[in-house]
Amino acid sequence: MINIKDIEKTYQNGKIEVQALKGVSFEIEEGEMVSIMGPSGSGKSTLMNILGCLDTATSGYYSLNDQDISQASEKELAYIRNKEVGFVFQQFNLLGRKTVLSNVEVPLIYSGAKKKERIKRAEDLLVKVGLGHRMKHYPNEISGGQKQRVAIARALANNPSLVLADEPTGNLDTNTGEEIMDLFQQLNDQGHTIILVTHEHNIAAYAERTIELIDGLIQRDVVA
């Protein structure tokens, strides 16, 4: 499903160059649940952003579902972000002026779904993540754990094959974090491929495979 080869990413800020990824290669099969670990600044977020098509690699090869992403046009990338990848962020990134329900509707608007369909789908997803009773609330009226559930529901809107989560429990307490991980576990059981970044071993333990990055390179890639 995912195949990357020699992915490099160099940030250029004026004269200063930072090489965040120095040649990363791996394959991930459909239905896997993979965690990515590593010290701060090792390039985890950089890698996730490239996998999620939010950013492009400086060099290297990336294919997702047999499509060569390194050659994809901007329009194709937008389509992939919309349909094939669901991204969950550490900071939730909900739209504050929209209700919980409307937030989940956003990807469906961009995929061109009809109003009725959108509402039905968004409601179903919110019920699924356990927020059926908070649909008309605004993001600032719900807890952090609930926000992350909304974000997960939103990531699932167009039923993407791949779900990416960059430190999804980073802003949550241990109990809430575990509840969120149970949700990811459930999604994986239902067939979604899941890649998540975490600092915590007990969170990483939910995944059967762990890739460890150090200083822009893969240090370890172990299957439990």
Partner: protein, 403 residues
């Protein structure tokens, strides 16, 4: 999709009502100014035009030329050619002229018992009524008989009656006219109708006597101040003008000057002056509309910067470049079109009120409303595109990490 984008635009404009209103203000004022300027200018122009055509578009005014004499003094060099005979000569020999009416005027004190009033006294002939479409409401105007016999009769404008005969019947009474320390007595035989104040002055405060009486008793001269010739029709006015010029050139010596102009020429001059004025004012109003557009751009740029994160989130969720571009252009268009509509409404209201005060017809052409509205849309579009473009080309990661 268009509807969704429209909804997104409306929602984000509503989220910041005060700012939205402020950014619309430029457009509102600009459009209102354009509408009001055009409407007021057209209304007052229509009023002037109708006043002039009320006078009859077939009238031609002939007066002695003025040239500067010795010692910087102004002397009317050709005045002594303007005899009553000249008028008869033109009337007889110009086929396109129907009639020629002489007029002379002087100002002095009209006195009745304890009431007196500074008035203009006009010496003329009976046809003065026809030419000015101005008739007595009481009694009658003097006739050719009075002119031929230089009788001492007078016809008063309505204002004069109010001043001199506040509570008595003027007909048959005598009034005194005092000019240059000599006093003449006239018998009132008529009162003229009330005529709206027009371009040729306030007819209501004038009094009318036979031209011959004027020459004998008031001006003590053999000459008149000017002639008004009426062409057989307005189509023939131009021809009549040439005929009169031809006749005058044969009648007077080369050094002598005279002025001649038709009502049409007057109308043309006034129209071209008001049109220039109108264009200038529209230009100024247009500039304020442009400034309004810059205001929109300013707000849009702030809004793009402020919502960088929102743009990043939308892109991460699958928004295409075109979706973002469209969303911000739509916002600019909604701003400028709502501003435009409010502006049209306010501009219409302002010009209506001003037309009521100024007493001219309320004119609001659909064309100018359409032009102003289209222009405001164009301004919004033009100044909205750049910020929208900036928003659309943001990289999703960069936008997401924007603090």
């Amino acid at each position: 999709m268009i509807f969704e984008t429209f909804k997104i635009a409306i929602q984000s404009l509503f989220a910041n009502k005060l700012r939205t209103l402020l950014s619309m203000l430029g457009i509102i004022i600009g459009v209102a100014a354009v509408i009001a300027v055009v409407s007021i200018a057209s209304g007052s122009q229509a009023q002037i035009t109708s006043q002039i055509s009320d006078l009859g578009s077939n009238l031609i005014n002939i007066s002695p030329g003025i040239s500067s004499g010795a010692g910087g003094q102004i002397s009317r060099t050709s005045a002594d050619i303007f005899t009553l005979d000249l008028g008869k000569h033109i009337e007889k020999n110009s086929p396109n002229v129907k009639r020629v009416v002489p007029t002379s005027s002087a100002s002095g004190l009209l006195i009745k018992a304890n009431n007196n009033y500074r008035a203009t006294i006009v010496g003329t002939e009976a046809d003065y009524q026809v030419i000015n479409k101005y008739y007595p409401v009481k009694g009658m105007f003097f006739s050719q008989y009075d002119v031929d016999n230089s009788t001492g009769v007078i016809v008063l404008g309505t204002d004069l009656v109010e001043e001199l005969f506040p509570d008595s019947e003027p007909l048959g009474q005598s009034v005194k006219f005092n000019i240059n320390n000599s006093t003449q007595v006239f018998r009132v035989i008529g009162v003229m109708e009330d005529k709206a104040r027009g371009l040729i002055g306030d007819l209501n405060s004038q009094a009318y006597i036979p031209i011959t009486t004027f020459m004998n008793k008031v001006s003590n001269s053999n000459y008149v101040s000017n002639f008004v010739a009426q062409a057989v029709s307005s189509e023939n006015a131009e021809m009549a003008l040439y005929e009169i010029e031809y006749l005058l050139d044969g009648y007077i010596s080369e050094d002598d000057e005279y002025n001649i102009f038709s009502q049409d020429q007057l109308l043309d001059t006034i129209n071209s002056v008001t049109n220039t004025l109108k264009l200038m004012l529209i230009g100024i109003a247009g500039i304020s509309l442009l400034v309004g557009g810059i205001g929109i751009m300013n707000i849009m740029l702030v809004s793009v910067t402020e919502r960088t994160r929102e743009i990043g989130i939308r892109k991460a969720l699958g928004a295409k470049k075109s979706n973002i571009l469209f969303q911000f252009i739509m916002e600019a268009l909604v701003l400028s079109s709502v501003g435009g509509i409010i502006g049209i409404f306010l501009g219409g209201l302002a010009s209506y009120s001003i037309s009521q005060i100024g007493g001219w017809p309320f004119v609001m052409s659909t064309l100018i409303v359409l032009i102003a509205f289209t222009f405001s849309l164009f301004v919004g579009m033009f100044f909205g595109i750049y910020p929208a473009y900036r928003a659309s080309k943001l990289n999703p990661v960069d936008a997401l990490s924007y603090e």
